[in-house]
Subunit: 160 residues, 2 copies
């Protein structure tokens, strides 16, 4: 599955509208963007983004070229073929009456998820990992009743 | 600082262009959006997003109304005044020659960060927490030499 996906990181100027310009560029061109994640970088006034897109090498080259044409973009790297660390953050609210709590906590332990909220009838788990790991945990939690899921999309860095 | 910020979550249809439409809405209206994070929700074909914005109650009401006008938006909630779980994911590549490695690993332990990559001259740490916690870790790592930071922006869920 990952073979068809490309992970691109970019350093961009942290101005209002940058995300919008990037998103509309991709929309206009019909690129198949699966996720865009943007956050503060190590440099003041620059944000770093991780973009996951479908398509072949040529599509990624096009995207890279187009990104460089946006003056607000400082650097673009396709790190797909590099060895990379790719993670996603998920918050999962799951139905958990006291009778089910033990089993859910056990699953959380196995997946190294943190219990970040406990209520009489529900728990919120925080988990990080690749998409497959998060998908596997969600599958195991589904029978208990998943109330809400908030996921971040993929963030990635090339290994040193 | 958080008093001036609002955290809004929304359930939106998972179609190409939704993020773009939301981003351009905000740009056009001049709303002060600090971050938007979008990921798969618990419902197939729906994404859930977390949006952090500046401004007063009236601005948030305007945003909520505008979001509902986008047909692709299913539900919008301002969870600022609710008790909420808010987290951010950061990957941090830090210079770590063997002489510094021990001290960095110690800091990682204190912040419950995971070491996700080890190279001769660098480590990659994965950490989750609120913006302040991540900022504090970055400050402590700065003297070692931060090579790259990739952050997700805030993801949030209302507590049960």
């Amino acid at each position: 599955m990952n073979a068809q996906k490309h992970t691109v990181t970019a350093l961009v100027e942290d101005k209002p509208g940058v995300l919008n310009r990037i998103a509309s560029l991709f929309r206009r061109r019909g690129f198949n963007i699966e996720s865009i994640v943007v956050g503060h970088s190590e440099v003041p006034d620059l944000s770093r983004l991780t973009l996951v897109m479908g398509g072949d090498e040529a599509a990624v080259e096009q995207v890279t070229k187009q990104l460089y044409k946006l003056i607000d973009v400082v650097k673009v790297s396709d790190i797909t073929s590099d060895d990379m660390v790719a993670r996603e953050l998920a918050l999962v609210k799951v139905r958990a009456p006291s009778s089910a709590r033990g089993e859910i906590i056990q699953l959380a332990d196995i997946f190294r998820a943190n219990i970040v909220d406990v209520a009489p009838e529900a728990l919120i788990l925080e988990v990080t990992g690749d998409e497959e790991k998060i998908g596997a945990l969600l599958e195991l939690l589904r029978p208990f009743g998943i109330v809400e899921v908030m996921r971040s999309g993929r963030v990635a860095l090339a290994r040193a």
